[in-house]
Subunit: 376 residues, 2 copies
């Protein structure tokens, strides 16, 4: 995607072939900076400290982390140690383990001298596959959006096609295009008059920070709203479709995604607004049938609820001009009040209008997914 | 209610009889301070700058504002000017106008020399009436909570009775007790093992700041959550009842309340959790039948979405120790991203399990309200 007219991916091999560049997502949207990762340890740190985030991007970063490790020491011991180090950074990220195994299995049979180059090729392949998959999701979603937009009453045809999204399932979470936002970018480039309502997505505010940044830099019209506002907008006909990503999809079509997704799905259902979930096959968990009952939901630190980060705008006492714009953490609730921070929720398949995958669009059901994937 | 064991109201006449004390709510929860209002202008400022907020409290502050004006000048011109000045502070606050009219109509027929004393008595009466009304809501809600708690399966009896609330409809919004929180305080004092999930309530975070402060100082167990989390908690049986206040209730039982209330009502309905609305008769608008279609929703400043205030915890550059704890405003979204900020939404009566009023509990319907109020 573009940042002010220049094309970017979230991760790239530097020209020296021995280091990897990434966008530092901890500083967004307030500062756009990049980082160079020159060792496996730096790659692991980048994942752990969320310089990079989003399941697909974490996977690619892990793959390149193995390359960096093998460039320093291509032996079996170093390979195993690097695998361990990277795998431990985000234990619940299913995609990370998958990418690490893919690279390890590719290079382990080779003589050590060939391993680093093989890892480089494999990591690049994983990245390119991800881009292709996201772009395919974008194409399938575009068709859906075009049909929906055309089917609106004549009086609505002149208005923007309003899409609401939650969290960040954009290109910053992948290598390029994104999942839920891929159809949005495709539609914008295809000339559809699209506008995006961006849920800020407390507690980590990935919507207000990352999604709004992405859309703004690509030039897609958008408006940031609090997570509380979507239901009201849907009641008043201001949302034509909801589209979100997913961290895990059950074989029956239940969707585990960022906390609060379920509330938007309820509102969409109550107001006859289509609710779409965009996903690559890698998020489907064929072993799970009942998402609400079976998927354990990770509780993150309560401080993400009781505090928030942003760029300092003003202080209630004199402050040096140079301090303004610094990243500040502020306390929101009283000291002594506990917080609870479940990171995800599960939206039952009955509330999902359709799944948009790299293989096409299907019903959110076992039959729907089987139809596309043959129980893969 | 209590603040660390000492009983407080949100507003009181000072011993000199010529000034009024209030809690400065703009500083909560980070600093507990009071202010003395010694003139009508100071009372108007306190309302305008939200030192005091909440419809009932604004009304009482307005009433005392007229007293302060009449103490300085009891003439007809001064009375009219003070009425205008106070009425203009919050044009949509139906309660403010009602309280101002009540005091004016009481004192206008009197000789000027008697007006200030009459206004003082009337303001005190309005305050005492509000306390009595809130306490009655608390008593009716307590009965409901006790019945619900007792009806839980045996296995759940040992667990806390979990109530979820949105925004602040506590004693800080009234003179004492509150509306939605009155049953909570009554239940806690009656020995019910109660625990409150506190929606932080973006954008202004009245839950995380005011509700959490109230509950903490009174000693009621509570946990702050983001607005996104309630649906997940309800899916997992962690909420026994939802209770909220209302800014306006239609004669058919639709409820206009803080933005996001509708989403919690949908989740409660989807999970069989009772959803209660606590209200004094003064919020019922007998002229409105369809809340979603007829109630205009005020859009507040977008900066409430794109920025947030809190007490400074840390900065990403060296900062004097003395700066920590200062009230800081931070930017959350990219400069250039628009925000939209509807302040309220409407929850249709079909999602409301019951209304809890000062006259008792009724169905959220025209028949229910008529039964209690005889079309008053």
């Amino acid at each position: 995607m573009n940042i002010d007219g220049q094309a970017w991916r979230t991760i790239w091999l530097e020209p020296d072939g021995r280091s990897v560049g990434v966008i530092d997502q901890t500083q967004l949207p307030h500062r756009f900076t990049t980082r160079t990762l020159s060792s496996c340890g730096q790659a692991a740190d980048a994942i752990r400290t969320m310089v990079v985030r989003g399941a697909p991007l974490i996977g690619v970063t892990g793959a390149y982390g193995l390359m960096l490790a093998l460039q320093a020491d291509p032996g079996d011991g170093a390979l195993a140690a690097a695998f361990e180090q990277l795998d431990a950074t985000r234990p619940t990220a299913i995609n990370l383990r998958w990418a690490l195994e893919r690279v390890r299995d590719r290079v382990a049979p080779l003589p050590p001298a060939q391993r680093a180059e093989a890892a480089k090729r494999e990591a690049a392949l994983i990245a390119d596959d991800d881009v292709a998959m996201c772009e395919a999701i974008g194409d399938h979603g575009l068709t859906l959006f075009q049909q929906l937009a055309a089917a609106r009453p004549a009086a609505r045809q002149e208005q923007p096609f309003h899409v609401l999204t939650h969290c960040n399932a954009g290109w910053l979470a992948t290598v390029d295009w994104g999942t839920a936002l891929a159809p949005v970018y495709k539609a914008h480039r295809a000339g559809l008059n699209i506008h995006v309502w961006v849920d800020e997505t407390r507690p980590r505010n990935q919507g207000a920070s990352l999604t709004a940044f992405e859309l703004g830099r690509e030039g897609v019209p958008h408006t940031v709203i609090v997570d509380n506002a979507g239901g009201h907008l849907m009641q008043h006909g201001q949302v034509d479709a909801v589209i979100v990503g997913t961290d895990r999809t059950t074989r029956t079509g239940d969707v585990c995604n960022k906390i609060g997704t379920y509330l938007k799905a309820l509102a969409a259902h109550d107001n006859g607004v289509p609710f779409y979930v965009a996903l690559p096959a890698s998020t489907i968990d064929w072993s799970v049938a009942d998402g609400v009952a079976e998927i354990p939901i990770e509780a993150r630190s309560a401080s993400e609820v009781t505090q928030i980060q942003g760029a300092l705008v003003e202080l209630d006492r004199p402050v040096a001009q140079a301090m303004l714009g610094s990243m500040a953490t502020v306390q929101l609730s009283p000291n002594g009040s506990a917080g609870f921070n479940p990171a995800f929720d599960v939206t039952p398949a009955r509330l999902v209008s359709a799944l948009i995958t790299e293989r096409g669009v299907c019903e959110a059901s076992e039959a729907g997914l089987q139809g596309l994937y043959n129980g893969a």
